[in-house]
């Protein structure tokens, strides 16, 4: 699993990247009450706002970590946004995306580096 400075995680699965937010990010957001996911098939560029996540406190944007295409979204989250607090680094992934420039992955942190980043 790789981590971004935007508190997202990426996990490779069947040739695409599964993307979600970290446990730390979920704790900071507080209780999540609404999630707006992108359309499957959308082409995105790194740092595009792709997901809107609202907690009891505020709305936040989740940015595309790399260039690519959204191939699948976790539509179960729309009905159960609280899953992001229960299992942010597992069940509550946001979307799967293809990666058009693997080089963009190089800057991401491993778990140890991320833990240091948030410490």
């Amino acid at each position: 699993m790789k981590f971004t400075e935007e508190h997202e995680w990426l996990r490779e699965e069947d040739g695409v990247m599964v993307v979600g937010i970290t446990t730390h990010a979920a704790e900071q957001l507080g209780d999540v009450v609404f999630i707006e996911l992108p359309e499957e098939g959308t082409t995105v560029s790194k740092d595009d706002e792709v997901v809107v996540i609202e907690s009891v406190k505020a709305a936040s944007d989740i940015l595309a970590p790399v260039d690519g295409e959204i191939v699948e979204v976790n539509s179960a989250l729309a009905d159960n946004p609280g899953a992001v607090n229960d299992d942010p680094q597992g069940e509550a992934w946001f979307f799967k995306m293809s990666v058009s420039d693997a080089g963009q992955m190089d800057e991401f942190m491993d778990e140890a580096a991320y833990q240091q980043f948030i410490a």
Binding site: G30, V52, V56, A58, A59
Partner: protein, 374 residues
Amino acid sequence: MSDLAITPLYDLHVELRAKMVPFAGYSMPVQYPMGVLKEHLHTRSAAGLFDVSHMGQVMLSGPSWEAVALAFERLVPMDVLGLADGRQRYGLFTNEAGGIEDDLMFARRGEELFVVVNAACKAADIARMRAGLPEEIIVTELADRALIALQGPGVAAVVEDLDPRAAEMRFMDVADLSLCGHAVWASRSGYTGEDGFEISVAADEAETLVRSLLEQRDVAPIGLGARDSLRLEAGLCLYGHDIDSEIGPVEAGLTWAIQKVRRAGGARAGGYPGADVIDQLFEQGAARRRVGLRPEGRAPMREGVQLYDAAEGGAQIGNVTSGGYGPSVEGPVAMGYVTRPQAEVGTRVWGEVRGKRLPVDVVPLPFVPANFKR
């Protein structure tokens, strides 16, 4: 953080691992480890304890109750003189334009008037009282007192166990109680829509009292985050958001707080700032009205969302002044102002969220029925 004031309960909040945030010049607990959602639901189902010591507590005294009450009526459009001893009312400071300078609670304690005002406004409110009241009325800020709210259906049993005199108190009664050995001023009121008490206690006794209260069954500490969602579901105004110096009581739907005796034709009509403007609005109706708003989808509509009369094009007819997720409603809830034709319950309007117009219905307030002890 050094420029922020703290309440007498600051050390306890930190010990309870509250997340502290700046609010109205104070470092205040926005939530505890339980989290806003669970804190909200806990208050609706059991008993929540809130530190509201940042609010201003002020005592007005003078030669007699009549002198104090009549003087205070020059600043607020409420019936103060008619307040029985041991009773409390909701009030508003108005300005010459008929807008609201602050909302407040005032209670008669014998010959004196005990006033509780919002933290952000308290310096201005105290200055307004000192300038606007005759010299014989003494305005004393009770900076040596803390204020705690206990709210929720489980509160009555807890407080009545500690002092059986509490059982005789009805909504908006005030009385002196003894809780866990501490002499307190209690009022049966709050700002969550639930039954409960607001408890004024000497600042240097507050922490000991709160520790004892937190040991009572079902009592949990609740932060400002849940306080906000609770009052929003209860349809109660937050000063600086749902009411302000440019919004008057008629637009805000707070005319119930202006007793007949102070309205045009009443025995003590007018005589407060903006009375002519407010009387005229009573007569004509306001051009815009505060309404409850229930977004159809799941997306919260927060303060500042603009409201339109059509899904596309059309005109802006209002805006959201408070909004978010209502944990008891299990969906988004909001309050805002719309022009009079749209203020009718059942009207469909559209709120613009992230560039998209989303349907929202004008609904009656409150979102959650009040659970007061009448």
